[in-house]
Symmetry: none
Subunit: 232 residues, 4 copies
DNA sequence: GATGAATGAGCTTTCATTCAT
DNA sequence: GATGAATGAAAGCTCATTCAT
């Protein structure tokens, strides 16, 4: 028996009160699903558990989502489309180029240790084989967007003659990679990482210095940036 | 989760024939487990499937491993202890510093796209919450060892006055991070990556140049390395 | 299981507009139920599916019928009372006795392969244990009526001296059984049957000949009917 | 996960004790399944109920049969292949042709009211759409076989000049149909039928007389069989 | 030591029915 | 009167684990 007749369609902005209630219930279910999927992963989560956590019956779950896989996809897509963008905020213009990049690097390092980002990474890596579309979605709304914004910003400074960047997209990707130094890989595996303010600042600044030593247009009057030791 | 409790220990040279057979059967089981866990993950693998793939009965599985969790741990530990080291081979000494690092960077980029490494990463990230010890083991035998070797090597060149590295461990970690540019994150999510020889070489050389521009002791007679565009 | 309890009764001529609408909706629901029950049987049909097919909400279903069982009974009774009689049309008087019986036999053979009759048979046989009343109803409006009409007709010819029928009801039942030769049992089981015009005619004629050889008053001047081979 | 590794293969005659136990368990399950399917039909039966009735766990059910459908098929096939033949016993040779046919007709009428035959009929008609193969199997081992034996027997008497049967198979089918007079259709629908010895004998004898009046080679010295009234 | 049949809790999913709107 | 969201019992099926042989 096809259940599509029993389920609410995607709510539109102009939908009436009933549809608003529908959308609210949908959100309520997604919230419960988020908690359970985040904690137990896809296979480890049970629809019973999600129903309990969301405060609805199992039947209601299936009124809103065709299957566990559908619910999972909806959860990941929502995170990717609605919550990820909040993490990739605009590049804060600092007093100068170095400061701006420093701000950005700190934000990125923080991102790589944020629970939401880590959870999404973990879940998408776990289920990449079974839900290839989710990895695409996540990548497009997350890393891809960040790299695009950064590469555009780098190109501006390249054109302004401050930086010398033959391949801005790749440079952005290097910057993205440098910001993962020391903590990202360990955080993904839930190994302890030092998230002290000082340590994060050090990692971010080190990323910026390494990056700028490679891409700053050489100016005979300026010495290269000096690398530092990590704080104790 | 301890796998050493009441199971046949690793055979010693003086062990009798029976123990030898025991060790062989253990290896046989692990081989089957490896195939099944690698393909289906922890939750997706069934003990029946492993028994079938290993060519033993389910009862025998439980004679050698207390539980699915124990078998899984043993499988991951074996990969980490026996197979990972083969991937992190010695730094090939090249004609000079740059060449040596180039070789190493290429090896690392290749590592990050090797099926074994990706599978282990995926499996450990998936089950990090349920098997924290595995992440530790993996880290110790994989990335940690690589970083240690590299940092020692960097320190040598620092002491020799070629490089100027205030924090060799962190520098090694930056090198490690730089080698992940563009492909590692995507490969982990099973998104398509370009593994052409030319592209891998480009990523590796770019990592080395960015790295050396930051850490090469400044020599007024030498210009900094010039960054390049990616090949088409 | 009684469907007449607290539901809108059959509308009378003097009923108001609302009751007319009520009866129409009831018919609309029954039409949907007919399609779904006919296709999926009792257990296989879902109230959601019936509601969808009938174009009403599930709630409305329950406003008109107390339960799935009630709706099913109403559907079967409607078929039996309204549609079956159409199948058991009057005996077409032919030019003579043999021709009349031939016409009737062909009609009966056709009946036993008609989709509606087969569906009703199948459904009633399936649910006979759970809905004993339905079998009674069906029998009364279907086979029983046919046998009654036929036995009355036979009795006329008996009294007219053409036939010699000591037990007209039983004779009618034999005729009814003879018309089922070869195809009825197979059609009930959805096994392939030959419904070619020629084949049906052969079965019908054979039934009539066998019947008349047994019940025709012996007339020394007339030879018995000769049985034939089936057409290729 | 494929469960085929966990299930026992079809036991052979020469199988050892273990396989004997396996076959016994299989039979035990089939016995339970028979009771439950016979009572509730396919859809109405639950695997839990069958497990309970058979005295095994649900898991064991699935160790022996892949699915509910498989178990159902096995049950029907077993009935058709092993139990049906017992019902279609050989034609008891009577003192003469009429007596032989009388014996056979009585056996057939009894068959059409036997609980096993009725149950099989009911179940196969119910599930003919979903299990077309079962109807084929049933037909082949039941009616088909009976008709074959009977038609061969009729042909012998035809060749011996006693009967005059242009189409022995069709004649056998008419005999088969005649034996269903009055009771078969009603029994299939679980409507009350008169199974008194006298009544069954009457139906059987009437079938034989009607049949012989059509197919007995005309012998001017012999009058046709006289039809009778049913006993009160 | 090896086997694999047996277990039963637990899974995802369906659906008749209710009831607030 | 009509709606359809919500319910929750019950379905078919899986699988880690045990244990008699």
């Amino acid at each position: 028996m096809d259940t599509t007749a029993d389920r609410p369609r995607q709510v539109q902005a102009e939908d009436c009160v009933l549809s608003g209630a529908s959308a609210a219930k949908r959100a309520q279910i997604l919230a419960g699903a988020a908690r359970v999927f985040a904690e137990h992963g896809y296979e480890g989560a049970s629809m019973s558990g999600i129903a309990r956590d969301a405060g609805v019956s199992k039947g209601t779950l299936y009124n809103y989502f065709d299957s566990k896989a559908t619910l999972f996809s909806a959860f990941v897509e929502q995170c990717a489309c609605e919550k990820m963008p909040l993490l990739f905020s605009r590049i804060d213009e600092g007093a100068n180029l170095t400061e701006s990049l420093d701000h950005l690097a700190v934000a990125m390092v923080r991102l790589f240790t944020s629970p939401l980002s880590l959870m999404l990474n973990r879940i998408i890596i776990s289920e990449a084989g079974n839900f290839p579309a989710l990895a695409e979605t996540f990548w497009k709304h997350g890393p891809q967007k960040a790299i695009n914004i950064l590469s555009a910003w780098l190109m501006q400074h390249n054109d302004a003659g401050v930086l010398n960047i033959p391949d801005p997209v790749f440079a952005a990707e290097q910057f993205y990679a440098l910001c993962q130094t020391r903590i990202a890989a360990r955080a993904r595996m839930q190994l302890p990482v030092n998230t002290d303010e000082a340590h994060i600042t050090f990692i971010a600044r080190s990323a910026v210095r390494t990056f700028l030593n490679a891409y700053m247009r050489e100016d005979p009057r300026l010495p290269p940036f000096v690398m530092e030791r990590a704080p104790d």
